[in-house]
């Protein structure tokens, strides 16, 4: 109970001083968002291949507050259903405000092949509401991911989000939906320590290089620290708390110009009968 209280206290403080930038995909709680090769957890719009690794069906919610601007905050929901043939995921993310808002939903299918290879495909529906025209504009696009365990300690991951570079045509302008290519690795240095590294490239944007360590202090407590370099170097720190079937996650990142972003997530895993 004391652990839970501490966690909630930290969450409240963090969320009160929140901030972040505008991306389409919500962040994951892997260190520095270097999640493409990370199959330990599943979360919203993460590499769909990671869905193949889940052992129990899961539900989760996530709140990401960017740069203390509530209009930029992302509210996500995700659910993952485990079964023998294919694991199925349903995810949704909402951000924006009354005059402009975005809804991203997806359905994912993933298969784990002998725990050495995971393949996932997700189909996303993205819609934008613009009050000026009182209309929603929408597009469909896929997301494909792979995680390969090339040795017991090294995994490599790949994910592509909107590879065909779908766009949304508004009344006067065309909105480019980010088309992102990600490659990364997860190196299990020991049972307690993991190193993750990832590079992302948005076709119409900059490269992002992210890396960091995840350290399991106790079975129930993990701390994470790392950084990513896009236009600026952004340090990241966070931790996760596992309480039986619940997992609580907190991540913070400090952008040198725009300030702090905090993300909190709660995940519930169903026990196997």
């Amino acid at each position: 109970m004391r652990k839970l209280c501490l966690f909630l206290l930290y969450s409240i403080i963090s969320l009160a001083i929140i901030s972040q930038t505008h991306d389409l995909q919500p962040s994951t709680f892997t260190v520095a968002n270097a999640s493409v090769a990370d199959s330990k957890y599943y979360s919203a719009f993460k590499n769909p291949a990671s869905l193949g690794a889940i052992e129990n069906s899961t539900l989760g919610i996530q709140y990401e507050n960017k740069f203390i601007i509530s209009q930029l905050a992302k509210k996500s929901f995700y659910s993952a259903f485990q079964n023998k043939l294919l694991n199925v995921g349903l995810t949704a993310n909402f951000s924006g405000y009354e005059l402009y808002n975005e809804l991203l939903t997806g359905i994912a299918l993933s298969k784990n092949f002998n725990n050495t290879f995971m393949l996932g495909v997700q189909y996303n529906y993205y819609s934008v509401y613009v009050a000026e025209t009182n209309k929603r504009y929408a597009a469909f696009f896929p997301q494909v991911g792979v995680i390969a365990r090339i040795s017991p300690s090294v995994s490599i991951g790949f994910s592509t989000f909107n590879p065909a570079q779908q766009t949304i045509q508004f009344k006067y302008l065309k909105k480019q939906i980010p088309s992102v290519f990600s490659l990364g690795t997860d190196w299990k240095i020991s049972d307690e320590l993991n190193f993750l590294f990832q590079t992302d490239k948005n076709i119409s944007g900059n490269y992002r290089f992210a890396g960091g360590f995840e350290y399991v202090i106790k079975d129930f407590l993990t701390v994470r620290t790392g950084a990513y370099q896009a236009e600026y170097l952004t340090p990241c720190v966070g931790f996760g708390l596992k309480l039986e079937t619940f997992i609580f996650q907190i991540n913070n990142e400090l952008h040198p110009i725009l300030g702090l972003t905090t993300m909190a997530a709660i995940q519930y895993s169903f026990s196997k009968r």
Binding site: F113, V146, T160, S179, T199, I203, Y207
Partner: protein, 673 residues
């Protein structure tokens, strides 16, 4: 025993088809070159070999040279081992031979066997030829999904709606081939390129037809070729219509090999001879004579033409006008004599054109061949002295153009091999069929020294490197002054586990070219570098490949620029159905043409892609192979490139496509009986 078990377990876990092994070899062979290499011939040669593997206990050096991934030293070591131990008892003994690693052995396995007798010397019986010979029929269709400008109709002055291209946007090829134990091979090819008419005012049927026949050890003839064929001798200074010796990460393989007369079974419409030829053994001497008479495409005017038109495309009025407008006759003779440790050869070629070749008079083309007839003769040699292998060829044309290429390959220890090659091709040496080791696409106007090495410094590691320093003593296209250049390559390969392989390749070149911003003719230095990392992982039915490549270019008039490409490949072979799928997603960002990438991609049978990747975008493909039964096979590929640089169109002229997407589809069906 441990080695045998290791190799056996590798053979079980690394499930690779012959197609994949051939692709892997070709990829490494062709990845460094920007020239188009005839993949069909390369593929056909190796497939024929896989169907009739070499008996290692009764094979010759020339036969082993058909395996392009083996170095001369490795061939030497294989022969020395067999000589010393009388014979190989099992294929797994290959692991014990100096200089052969697991990758080499794995690549050799489909093409070799262990036996006692050489059946190739058996008598030929016609009833057996047709009873046991294998026939294959292939049908292929290609199409670009988006419409190109050449197919859209416009109204002419008479009010008629016409398109620039006469034909449909489908490519179609039909092939038949027959093979009896690599001794009797024949076949025919028919092809229509996209945009060429199949039936109408310009064509009645296919645009290109070919026939070939090759017989080996037929009566007194070592080889007999009829129809379309290739001829390669010596180091390629006089004849090499096969693959030229080029720079690759096989840094020791710059010696021209796989010589002789060979069938030409490709659908390539230009680089072959058409006629007949034979090779006869007389004691220690092999004599090859051949004659070719074929029509080439060119833009002729008043009995002369500027250059050959080599695309093989006949889609528009102007392209159709060029078709088969110049006759080209070639007489060739080659003799080679073995003197134990040495081999000496002599080659002569005489070419006669029906129209006079008159290249446009430009400073760079001052020394290009002009005229109706040309004779070229050359002498080639190879000498083996201890661990040294000395080789070379010198040749001269009737207008006193001179060329020579000489080299030495040696291996001081089983873990280190070195090669040094010097070439000098005078500006006046401009002959039709030369294709020797060079930086230029033409084998002329060049001198240089190439030094290559291959080292196995530690277990599981292999390193290769080369340095090539060259000079062009006269002007060349795009360079209005004598110029120089240097190429460097460092390739490292590491196999930490039997199913994981990674390699790094660092390449750098410095050259000169015209200074586009100068008002007077001056040249500028420019440099290009690239760093590539590849990780290959094979897990039974699955295999993945990750690639990251960064390119860098710098020149006087252009800011330094960096290009980036990364790809993910996945292949899966289904367990219960005879289906294999290959998927790739590639991201590329090459801001300048100099940053362009050449990245191999999997394809349907007989198609081999190393597309040039340039600008910014993504490319992805799906490749399927379905083997319905032992007779029927089916291939399908769909690939799409989506550019992310806000462009409105792709390509230019009649090939222009509106929008930022280009989708290629290919389909192939084969039947074996």
């Amino acid at each position: 025993m441990l080695i045998i078990l290791t190799l056996r377990s590798q053979a079980q876990t690394s499930i690779q088809t012959i197609d994949e092994i051939i692709n892997e070899i070709f990829e490494q062979y062709a990845a460094e070159t920007e020239e188009t290499i005839d993949y069909e011939s390369f593929y056909n040669d190796l497939v024929s070999l896989s169907e009739n593997p070499l008996n290692l206990n009764n094979t010759t050096r020339e036969e082993l040279e058909k395996l392009p991934f083996l170095t001369d030293i490795q061939i030497e070591n294989i022969q020395a081992y067999i000589y010393k131990n009388k014979k190989l008892s099992t294929i797994y003994e290959l692991q014990l031979i100096d200089g052969l690693d697991m990758t080499d052995v794995r690549r050799m396995l489909p093409f070799v066997k262990i036996g006692d007798n050489n059946i190739n010397n058996d008598k030929l019986y016609m009833n057996e030829v047709f009873k046991y010979g294998k026939s294959d029929i292939f049908m292929r269709y290609d199409k670009v999904v988006e419409q190109k400008k050449g197919y859209s109709k416009s109204i002419d002055a008479q009010g008629n709606a016409n398109a620039a291209y006469y034909g449909s946007p489908y490519y179609n090829a039909l092939k038949y081939s027959f093979n009896y134990k690599n001794r009797i091979q024949f076949g025919t090819n028919m092809e229509k390129d996209a945009g060429e008419q199949f039936w109408g005012s310009t064509h009645k049927g296919y645009d290109f037809y070919s026939f070939y026949f090759q017989g080996n050890n037929v009566g007194k003839m070592k080889t007999l070729v009829v129809g379309n064929y290739r001829a390669s001798f010596g180091q390629g200074l006089v004849f090499n219509s096969g693959f030229g010796s080029s720079k690759s990460s096989y840094t020791l393989n710059v010696i021209s090999r796989n010589n002789g007369l060979k069938k030409f079974s490709s659908t390539n419409e230009t680089s072959f001879f058409r006629g007949a030829g034979t090779t006869i053994s007389v004691g220690k001497t092999d004599v090859s004579v051949f004659y070719s008479n074929k029509k080439q495409d060119a833009d002729t005017l008043n009995g002369s033409f500027n250059s050959f038109y080599l695309t093989g495309l006949h889609r528009t009025d102007s392209e159709i006008k060029k078709k088969h407008s110049v006759g080209m006759q070639t007489f060739g003779l080659h003799t080679t004599t073995n003197f134990g440790i040495a081999r000496l050869g002599f080659t002569v070629a005489h070419t006669l054109l029906s129209d006079t070749l008159k290249p446009e008079i430009e400073p760079y083309s001052t020394f290009y061949f002009r005229g109706l007839r040309q004779t070229t003769a050359g002498i080639d040699y190879r000498i083996r002295l201890s661990t040294f292998n000395i080789f070379g060829e010198s040749a001269m044309t009737n207008n006193k153009g001179f060329a020579t290429v000489n080299g030495v390959l040696f291996s001081p220890t089983s873990t280190v091999s070195l090669i040094m090659l010097w070439r000098y091709y005078s500006p006046t040496y401009d002959t039709f069929y030369a294709n020797a080791f060079s930086e230029n696409t033409r084998t002329n106007n060049e001198s240089g020294v190439y030094i290559g090495t291959e080292i196995r410094p530690f277990r599981k590691w292999k390193m290769a490197a080369y340095v090539d320093s060259y000079r062009f003593p006269w002007l060349k296209y795009g360079v209005n002054a004598p110029s120089t250049g240097q190429d460097y390559l460092l390739h490292a390969e590491f196999a930490p586990k039997r199913n994981v392989l990674m390699n790094w390749r660092l390449k750098y070149e410095q050259k000169q070219r015209n200074n586009s911003k100068s008002t007077i003719y001056t040249v500028e230095n420019y440099s290009k570098g690239s760093l590539r990392y590849q990780l290959l992982f094979n897990s039974g039915k699955f295999s993945t490949k990750n690639l990251i490549e960064i390119s860098y270019t710098d020149s006087l008039n252009q800011h330094p620029s960096v290009g980036f490409a990364a790809s993910q490949d996945i292949s899966y072979t289904f367990e219960k159905i005879p289906l294999r799928i290959d998927l790739r997603c590639l991201l590329f960002d090459a801001p300048n043409y100099d940053n362009r990438f050449y990245l191999y991609e999997k394809d349907i049978l007989y198609a081999f892609s190393i597309p040039m990747i340039y600008r910014k975008g993504m490319r992805y493909y799906l490749n399927l192979k379905y083997e319905a039964d032992k007779n029927w096979s089916f291939w399908f590929k769909i690939a799409q490139t989506v550019y992310g640089d806000m462009r409105k169109s792709i390509g230019s002229g009649n090939e222009e496509i509106q929008g930022n997407k280009k989708t290629d589809m290919r389909f192939m069906l084969s039947y074996r009986f």
